[in-house]
Symmetry: D2
Subunit: 401 residues, 4 copies
């Protein structure tokens, strides 16, 4: 029996894992198959071609690894770098912190540029570090495109410009876990060398597939990278790509068919429409927060995230209590504040396969909870602000008009 | 491919078919089975016992017929009555009208008591008809417990009192399609002779099972009822009940397991809690309608329905346009106004497996649509009114507290 | 929890309900929808066009009624005939018997032509009855295309010839429950006026949809047929067909999408390939029976059924014990002998979505059971006979070659 | 649309991924959930307790890592060993070869004991290596319990005895990928330090979960092991175990519920019954091979595997052609011969949720294919030999008797 199943649906507004669309659930409702049969390579080949589209790359090489975002990180690092390599990494929230922790434990020499949580990556410091790096000791820039803990989106185009201006050869490794397929992301245009995401984020699949894309330069780097790796080694994949059998070890048949269905939905809606939809839902959420008189953890508009909003609560309120009550009382799943912002923020994830009324239902729940915990919110105020905006945006279902 | 699949979920607020809970979908995700194997009778036996609980009967005999509500009506009538029998029937909306049409086509002598749409059954007229029926020519009273077209709930206890006061032997046949498992319904206490519902209503299953319960008096009547019937004949069922194989013809294996899961959920929540939940969601909906400055099609509070609310729109607005836009623009499914109230009302179904935030999402959608079509609603007003009430009700998920 | 779930799959070889293909299960794994939304009529319209193909008709009008085969029978009869009408009906097994019972209870004047069970319809008697029916008192011929209880397929082309030779206007009503989509069936060519099947048979869906197709002549008859009917009344359907909303009452959304998937699979394989496949599996089964030294209940080759084989056991053996052991010991579901042949035959259903190795697994199970109950079968003999034949037939999966 | 979907089921007889039982498919048919909600830790806690039972350990600590068997290997090695550590490893087939390749690439000093493919681990050589290792330079013995490529089961009890006799402190690391939950495996009794399997093997789940169990001694070793690791680091898991939130990164919700259902099925059948069932199906397969006049790749009975049988074909036949035809012609998935035995053997996997008639269907398919490719097999001979044995074994479904 399911644990404490309440009436009605769970309202899933954590910034991942996110809601799985029904067509994807259907596609994954299947028995195992022999992945060495002729059918699976045919499926895989097309998937690998199609998955490049969500990275906006034509020159990249994708890998669909049975792992999570944490494993995808490790794959990006160990295939392109050698122990002791100097890398620049930005610490702006919990997930960039965890990635840095991984970088350090993998024995890289991490040059950390820290910002206050709620701020974006400090690109001025990067600029000066690059400028002074005449000897090109910096082998890679590691940056989280969208910091899920604080709802901060970094400006990758600017990072690329800084590198280009100096003709700096450092690799650009990007965590796109809570951005790819939801935010504007352009692998080729921005010269990203490794980009990665996880299946349970904007692709709206179950957890279990790390999706990584490597530029030709990153592939070249993998030939000499000395980091010890086997499970995550791209070269094993590339060997099987050449054989046309694709898999060095067993993939999840269900996730492959699920990915097929997820991509079909995204392409049917149009990737740019998907991104625009995230833009509208993000803006609507921020308007609600403003209407409630609360502040966004993200300190400047240029960093506002369209996939997650971290809401700062007044000091008198414990944000963890808001998250607890949301789940217990209204079957609403919100994101906790993590680490430095624990107790101070709660997070509304608005990524993945989602529409206006789902979001407004969530916002109405947040209003009730805020009042429950003693914050003097005017019920309906956030919903009204969000609805007023959403009503005047273009429809989400063009095919029905 | 699914037809015009939009991003996010469909918001299903027609008064049936309603949302199917995930555990029920899971239970039905199965291959066919031999219904003559030992497993199916064991399952059926327990289902027949358990299904009596949702009728609040211990003396009734249930039938699970592979049909819809229309078929369940036909089963109730043809098993208990003979052509030419006089029956009293109340015309108060589209579904009572359709049942009367069926009664007439099945060759009964239907004595129709009509009310204005939006009013309940006129029990005063019934009282006088019964009083003057010294010869007991009235063989049955047919009444819709909850008229789904107008959102009117009739008072069955009073009907029983009128019959008892006169010791009138007429059978009491009740359409509980949009009431049973959602509204207070007491088969034994109210002396209901045949009660019926459909799987796709408050039980929150797919369409395809007519669920009928017959009192001992109804069963007795079935022995002499001369209406021609085979598919709907209870006697065929009773014959197989005695044999212990239960099914005169093939049942849907999937719906049997689905019913098992649906009943498990209802019993886990508690049937009275389920009914109370419908009470709260119904009240919240009416408070929103009031806040919008619109009127309930139901003219008096005593008839307010906790499973569906028919909302009257101003004459300048076509309610069908509201329903059309809801689906096209917001992926929200509302109920049309039917027949006499076509264009004049739209309906919000709030029955089945549903919770607060789902309803508030729907209400926020209605607000946007009202504004879209030119009605000067204050966005957030209905949501706020509903939320203020819901916030102060007891939690829907006691197991989590 | 599932009742006595054993390891591995259930081997479902009753002649319905049959195995549901995975793509169909997937298609049905979905929430309810508003059947009054624009999406459902679009789906229905195409389904109605496509379903005509499995009847091989262009002039027929199909009805997808939420009922079973028993209801489909009732629909065929009550829409085309009036009480007291004389009909000729063939009694050749349990299902024709049940249909005749229904015909009699629906107050038709049934002229029964009986054959020994195991023989086909006696068309000589029909010929003489028709010849002597100068006044055309016979309003309809009712015939089961494939008698599921004995595995007998009747010759419909001959029935048509007999009618045509005499220009007899009687309607030809055909139960195609265990034939349509599996055996050669030609509605237009054979001048069938009403043909019907159930979703759980060769279409390989769950139970719950009666699929009926009416010729223009049958539709014409429905205008004057005086049988009382409402739920099964085609005219209600036709009214909604004209409106373009299609449904007089609620359909099962899941079965509609399931039917779509089932038809897609059938058209992808090719209807004639599907029929040829049933031919091969039927023949293989009969070869196994012969190898076991057992006899086919069907007495002549011209009546052999390619969807079900009834196997006669020696008098010393109770065939019901074979069926019981099959389920208990090997998780194999076989069909019981019914009524006159109870205890004397057991049935192997080989219809629906099935392939060679599934059948051979079944046959190997039957061999073990035969030995278990004391019949001196040579293990492997039936499997070998079937395999020797199957090996030399054309492949079932042309797309893979 | 599914790629080349043939009629009927796929017969999945590769030694993994294996058939998923319907109750497990049902359990996994669900939306994502917040893994930080209170529900998921409750579920996880019980899973971790229950999963120990399939290892037959009470003192072990399990880890459920979102990875495959290859990742589970890496987890076992990197958490217990340091680069340069001497380990003894047995090369007896393709999967032990791949593990050794991993061990070498992870920079361990691998002392390989090679056997002819088709033979088990040479424990005499191990004995002498251990005896001469006075200084305890051997840090670990790595052994594949069941070599999936050749169908060889190694004797772990003897390995333990050799270590104990010499009081040698080497860790015992066991790949139980195609053994645990199917073959007799006793972690505590045999003093196994790390045991591992993958979800898609005998547990009959989709691919995606590496299931690892570490002894207290292995956990102790993990504190000082210097291999670089982050994603696979047990210490991150242990940290979250202590917190009671269990997951250092996102698990697959679907696999957790699937594992729950899989364990429920195993415990309901009884783990020892599951193992006995594999014993019977394995023996039946070998009897069939013998009846066909073919030889088992496994050279001695003591090594016979009850989860996979590698069948040697005559030199004139290409075993890959057998596998190709099986899939194309009969929708039967068999295992290829790998590496040294490519073209020489094909493999029948008989592990996971499987019963007699499924296996006999497979064997009848193999017979037809053997004949197709020119091998003079007597059709039915293998099926008969297997059936004769199976018929006299105890039933697989005790609950039905």
């Amino acid at each position: 029996m399911d644990y404490v199943y309440g009436p009605g649906r769970n309202h899933l507004f954590v910034p991942g894992p996110v809601n799985i669309p029904e067509p994807v659930l259907r596609a994954m409702n299947r028995n195992n198959e022999d992945y060495r049969s002729p059918a699976v390579p045919v499926l895989t080949k097309i998937l690998l071609e199609d998955v490049k589209k969500i990275f906006k790359t034509t020159s990249g090489t994708p890998f669909l690894i049975p792992t999570t975002g944490t494993g995808a990180w490790e794959s990006a690092l160990t295939n392109t770098l050698s122990p002791g390599d100097r890398i620049v990494s930005f610490l702006i929230g919990q997930f960039s912190l965890l990635w840095i922790d991984q970088q350090q434990r993998l024995k890289f020499d991490v040059d950390v540029i820290e910002s206050e949580w709620g701020q974006g990556a400090n690109l001025d410091v990067l600029a000066s570090k690059l400028a002074s790096d005449i000897g090109h000791t910096i082998k890679a820039i590691c940056i989280v495109h969208n910091e899920t803990a604080t709802g901060v989106t970094n400006n990758l185009a600017t990072v690329r410009k800084l590198l280009d201006k100096l003709s700096h050869p450092a690799l650009l490794l990007v965590d796109g876990v809570s951005s790819i397929c939801a935010l504007d992301f352009r692998m080729d245009e921005w010269g990203v060398d490794v980009a990665l995401t996880g299946s349970q984020k904007a692709l709206s699949l179950p957890t279990g597939m790390g999706i990584i894309c490597a530029s030709p330069k990153a592939l070249e780097a993998s030939k000499t990278a000395k980091s010890v790796r086997v499970f995550f080694d791209w070269n094993d994949y590339l060997k099987f790509y050449k054989l046309g059998t694709y898999w060095p070890y067993t993939p999840s048949i269900q996730l492959l068919y699920g990915l097929r269905a997820a991509l079909d939905l995204i392409f049917e809606e149009g990737l740019d429409n998907v991104i625009a939809r995230h833009g509208r839902l993000g803006k609507a959420t921020r308007l609600a927060v403003e209407a409630w008189g609360l502040t966004n953890c993200t300190q400047k508009e240029e960093w506002y995230s369209d996939t997650v909003t971290a809401v700062v609560v007044p000091p008198s309120i414990d944000s963890a209590e808001i998250v607890r009550r949301a789940w217990k009382r209204y079957n609403l799943s919100l994101g906790l504040g993590l680490n430095k912002v624990a107790g101070k923020v709660f997070r509304i994830g608005h990524l993945g396969n989602l529409n206006e009324l789902q979001l407004l239902g969530c916002l109405s729940g947040v209003e009730m909870i805020l009042k429950d915990v003693g914050y003097p919110v005017k019920l309906g105020s956030g919903v009204a602000a969000a609805a007023a905006y959403l009503q005047n945006t273009i429809p989400l279902i063009p095919s029905r008009i």
